[in-house]
């Protein structure tokens, strides 16, 4: 168990920076997810923590120990790779036993630990097989078994379930989270899937273009994104963005759009502090913070036309066409509107966001 601190870390590949001035502290025993699209520097970060890449500048600390110059074997970390990286010529038993053997554990310890790990992961019946005889989910369990058999300071999981099918992925999310809670070991989990990060992690570090965008708990990331990029990346279906004008003075400020004019709540006016002068902003609203009806519910409702309906099992996603854009609304499957019909949208103003039109930072 260890607290992992990443301090002012940069990573260059040639002239290209992959990670820019990263600062993260992962508390002891926590489950931290590094979330971002491909090429955002999340895997480079993980590989620097593991010692598989050099750190261009900055420090990585495990508790009070600077690990920059330690070889991977001396860092006492365990890693699960995206492609599992099992040893194809060794049995499952030998794969899991490998870290123990490399550290010279006695045969009885090896047997006890391997069987313990296999039991925990429910792969005891597979110990005699070779990796090529296993399914994707089983290989992934073996890779996890190899990581947990040694009780390391830190787990590093690099998109370990990205290649599994959807059902198995949902199952493994729960299992990995439970495993981390049971073992209590600090875990850093790299993923591009915002659902994995939101559902599993204690803290999420959202990265984009090598920079840390936001650090916070899943609910902070989801409910209070610091900028438009985070707001757009996290959440499925994605947040709707509309460029609006800002009108008003004092306590009466409204967002203006061709189709609507909606006043801000009093607290939000203060948070907007002075941005009104620029005259434009981006409104962000998640599909589930909008409600749709076929009759006009109030004066502030937005009039639009239904473009298409998508039934997603328990929910219905309706795409509504406004004058110059389309926005998506989540509603119940019972919604009866047909494409082409006029409809009215109401915004839940407690859950909407306003971002700066220039750099995209969030006012609220």
């Amino acid at each position: 168990m260890a607290t992992v601190s990443i301090r002012n870390v940069w990573k260059y590949y040639g002239e290209t920076p992959a990670v820019k001035d990263l600062n993260i502290t992962c508390p002891d025993g926590s489950f931290v997810s590094i979330l971002g699209p491909s090429g955002c520097g999340k895997s480079s970060t993980m590989r620097m923590i593991a010692g598989l890449e050099h750190i261009s500048s900055g420090d990585i600390m495990f508790d009070d120990v600077r690990v920059n110059d330690l070889a991977p074997k001396d860092r006492d970390v365990a890693m699960v790779f995206e492609n599992y990286a099992l040893y194809p010529h060794k049995s499952v038993y030998e794969n899991i036993a490998n870290p123990l053997r490399l550290r010279g554990a006695s045969e009885s310890t090896v047997k006890e630990r391997v069987e313990g790990a296999a039991k925990l992961l429910e792969i005891s019946h597979l110990l005699g097989r070779r990796p090529h005889e296993l399914s994707g989910g089983q290989k992934q369990r073996v890779a996890i078994g190899r990581a947990i058999v040694r009780e390391p300071k830190l787990f590093l999981f690099d998109e370990p379930i990205a290649h599994l099918d959807a059902k198995l992925r949902a199952h493994m999310r729960g299992e990995i989270k439970h495993l981390q809670r049971t073992l209590g070991t600090t875990m850093i989990y790299v993923t591009h899937d915002q659902l994995e990060a939101l559902s599993m992690a204690d803290y999420i570090a959202v990265m984009h273009d090598g920079e840390l965008q936001q650090w916070g708990t899943p609910s902070e990331i989801f409910n209070n994104p610091v900028n438009a990029w985070v707001a757009g990346f996290v959440g499925e279906p994605a947040m709707n963005f509309l460029t609006c004008g800002i009108k008003g003075e004092g306590d009466a400020v409204s967002l203006m759009h061709k189709n609507f004019e909606i006043p801000l709540l009093p607290g939000q006016v203060r948070q907007l502090n002075g941005a009104a002068q620029t005259g434009v902003a981006r409104m962000g609203v998640r599909p589930d913070a909008l409600s749709i009806s076929m009759t006009k519910p109030s004066e502030a409702a937005i009039r639009g036309e239904i473009f298409v309906n998508e039934l997603l099992g328990g929910d219905m996603l309706v795409e509504v066409e406004l004058d110059d854009c389309r926005i998506r609304v989540k509603t119940t499957p019972e919604f009866a509107g047909k494409p082409g019909e006029a409809c009215y949208l109401t915004v839940n103003r407690d859950k909407w966001h306003v971002f700066d039109a220039g750099d995209g930072h969030a006012y609220f």
Binding site: K73, N83, H89, L102, R150
Partner: protein, 292 residues
Amino acid sequence: MASRDVVSYDTPLSRALSIFGTVFVAFYLVWTLLPFVVMFVSSFKDMLEAFKLPVVGDWAGMTVFFDFSPTLKHYTTLFTENSFGTYIMNSLIAAGGSAVISVVFGSLAAYSLSRVDFRGKQDLFFWIISTRMAPVVAVMVPLYAIFRSLDLVGTLPGLILAYTTFNLPFAIWMLKGFFDNVPYAIEEAQMVDGATRFEAFRSILPLVAPGIGAFVVLCVLFAWNDFLFAAIIGSGGAKTLPVATRELVQPQNIQWGSIMAAGVVTTAPMMLLGLVIRKYLVAGLTMGAVKE
């Protein structure tokens, strides 16, 4: 590497081609195997019997070939009057020694070229193979001069060194392809598990074993069948089988019986080797080409 059923339908052309194919293969087999059969059979014949030939066109006379009383006297001569025992050892040591040295250094170099990026890597890689581009005869004279000044002419170490000069670049090129096909993540996993770089390298050797096996065979074959190096650099103290066989041809007396027996002694071990590792060889030579 799964093979697939190729769906084919009979047409007059395909039937004609198939008959042609069969005939061609039959001729090819006769062409390839007949010399070996003649060599093998003649090595057990007395000189007089060996030169008994049927008249041209007399197909029934073919039986003359197999009408003889087998004798082992040519083989006995090889090992008593000529010291073929020593020559076999020389051949084995020269071929085996060069194969082992080439595999050890070749796999280390190939691994480095496959895994580590450094400036001038492509140039170095090309330079390594360019040493194989000149024909052997072109470098023979300077090589001889160098070897002579180092007192290596006529010694087994000299011969091993000469073969290694030519086998090592080949080893590096061939084995690099095999290392390239092993995912680097496997070594990374090893290193995170607690292995040093060298232990990680050792751990993937089983994965390139088919490649190493195939290379060893080709390397042994090259050295075993070589005449030029053996005649010039190995002459005298490090006489190998091909050179010794050549010496059975004397101006006034060509010892056909012994030559045939020497041919069998030289060929048989390589044929056996080929049979034993045939599976490896094919897997090894195709594995490099197909990325899984």
